[in-house]
């Protein structure tokens, strides 16, 4: 079964609003990553957070990790139409190990 599960499955917001996506996982991890996929394309790495970190920022992205709840959230602030994409979380059980991906959240940002 998939290690990561995203919530919600789909999210539709207006440009300028914030978008929050959540990811839950089942076992202890070394790190958790977020990837973005534009329609019909490959995935692009956005941000990585390690198990000993609680929060990380990159531009308009903010990721949190709660290892006690086995969950992570991705916040995109001041969203733009160009942020429309699917967002996936992926977990690694150890450093350099294979990744296990969730099913993704489809984000639509309406202009």
């Amino acid at each position: 079964s998939q290690q990561g599960e995203e919530d919600p499955q789909a999210l539709s917001i207006q440009e300028g609003e914030n978008a929050t996506m959540n990811c839950s996982y089942k076992t202890s991890i070394n790190n958790l990553q977020w990837y973005r996929q534009n329609s019909g394309r490959g995935l692009v790495h956005l941000i990585l957070i390690r198990s000993n970190e609680r929060e990380k920022h990159s531009g308009r992205l903010r990721v949190t990790l709660d290892t006690s709840k086995k969950s992570s959230s991705l916040l995109i602030t001041a969203s733009r139409a160009a942020d429309t994409a699917s967002y996936f979380c992926a977990t690694a059980l150890s450093s350099g190990s294979r990744l296990t991906f969730g099913e993704g959240t489809q984000l639509t940002v309406n202009p």
């Binding site: 998939q2 490959g42 995935l43 790495h45 350099g96 990744l99 991906f101 099913e103």
Partner: protein, 112 residues
């Protein structure tokens, strides 16, 4: 920039055909991966490789094989294509001991 290329964006094959999907990366990465992506199922790992001539099964290896004769190239082989192998196939690579993976654009395969 890391570049991962896949031989075809779209491919149509008939049931029973042998299908080769090629993936090439230009950054001297040790690790390479093949995933398939289906609606509602996310990405599932088929096979991966940590080095030339090495391969490891992922979660769904049945019906697939792989070949890694050169470091930059990782091939996915469907020995006898079936309709349930219609899917989006994604290749990725990463440096040794790095968790970040770099993806190709994907090959959308339709098996009739």
């Amino acid at each position: 920039d890391v570049k991962v290329t896949q031989s075809s964006r779209y491919l149509v094959k008939r049931t029973g055909e042998k299908v080769f999907l090629e993936c090439v990366q230009d950054m001297d990465h040790e690790n390479m991966f093949w995933y398939r992506q289906d609606p509602g199922l996310g990405l599932r790992l088929i096979y991966f490789s940590y080095d030339v001539k090495m391969k490891e099964k992922g979660d769904i290896p049945e019906g697939y094989s792989v070949s890694r004769e050169k470091k930059e190239r990782f091939s996915l082989i469907l020995e006898s294509a079936s309709t349930n192998q219609t899917s989006m196939y994604l290749c990725a690579s990463s440096p040794l001991r790095s968790e970040t993976q770099y993806f190709g654009p994907g090959t959308r395969l339709l098996v009739l």
